[in-house]
Subunit: 155 residues, 2 copies
Amino acid sequence: MNELLALDNQICFSLYAANRAITSRYRPLLAELGLTYPQYLVMLVLWERASANQPTRVSDLGTRLRLDSGTLTPLLKRLALRGLIHRERRQDDERVVTISLTDEGAGLREQAAQVPQKLLCGLDVSPERLLALRHELNAVLKAIEAQEVEEEPSG
Amino acid sequence: MNELLALDNQICFSLYAANRAITSRYRPLLAELGLTYPQYLVMLVLWERASANQPTRVSDLGTRLRLDSGTLTPLLKRLALRGLIHRERRQDDERVVTISLTDEGAGLREQAAQVPQKLLCGLDVSPERLLALRHELNAVLKAIEAQEVEEEPSG
DNA sequence: TCAAATTAAGTTGTGTGCAATATAAATGTC
DNA sequence: GACATTTATATTGCACACAACTTAATTTGA
């Protein structure tokens, strides 16, 4: 009876289960917008950067979302197929693909603005508590990522 | 600049990123055992139930891990192929498949017992803080799942 | 008792994640 | 200026997740 191995004592399982549970709450709301959850995250980044007039490369999305091209390339192709974004090779550096919003993609933001409230209302956890949880998660994320840099001192 | 839509203000993104970050820390440790992360979770449940002499059905794993047969069936086939488990249709109810550990599967527990410590040491977050985070995550998970039952009162 | 409903697991198809590798363009170096 | 190195993205292959559907066995109930 190794207590350390008990499923309920694994922080990783709590994260795993909570993440999937939250995602499953988003799914029907995002389906109304015709988006999957990772596609929604990509759109959030694009909306954010567009309103700051920042052009966005595939690698910018990767850095922000911690995703590589193996995930992003097909996802972006689907968003392009849906008419929400443009993918364009940059003239002065043909290695780079620039992602920009179409009018439809930019317009979708208004509908998306409803999503966070819709999700929170009906969830029996106070906003303060969620805020605290978010801060804790970010701290753990930071600690893990700091460790990764530490272990690859390939400078 | 809709603050509600800012990526950094999305609890869901913190969960998503932290979950993948933690999982990526597990990956090399579990690779030594020849397990993926979801396979590890299944083994945790099997070890736990075996030490309590509880037989385990596919649906027991599904309930505990919140996974359906579409995920579990192929995963369990891979574990069986690896020689860690047996899959057997129950005699008295042929709809049910019982999962049991092979000797090798049971023996793997000793190696797995090293995993949690290995993961925690090197992570610059205090155990107390992780414990608090786990409790918070479980509370949110419970709130979400309570809501699901509430919305499907199909009794 | 026997057809309808329910239950348990399996199958199929789509969309991630991620490792490994490939391709092509730019950069650095001699 | 030719060649090795680096950089940015794309491709391939595998393993989840999950919705939708199928199959087969059991239970229910008129």
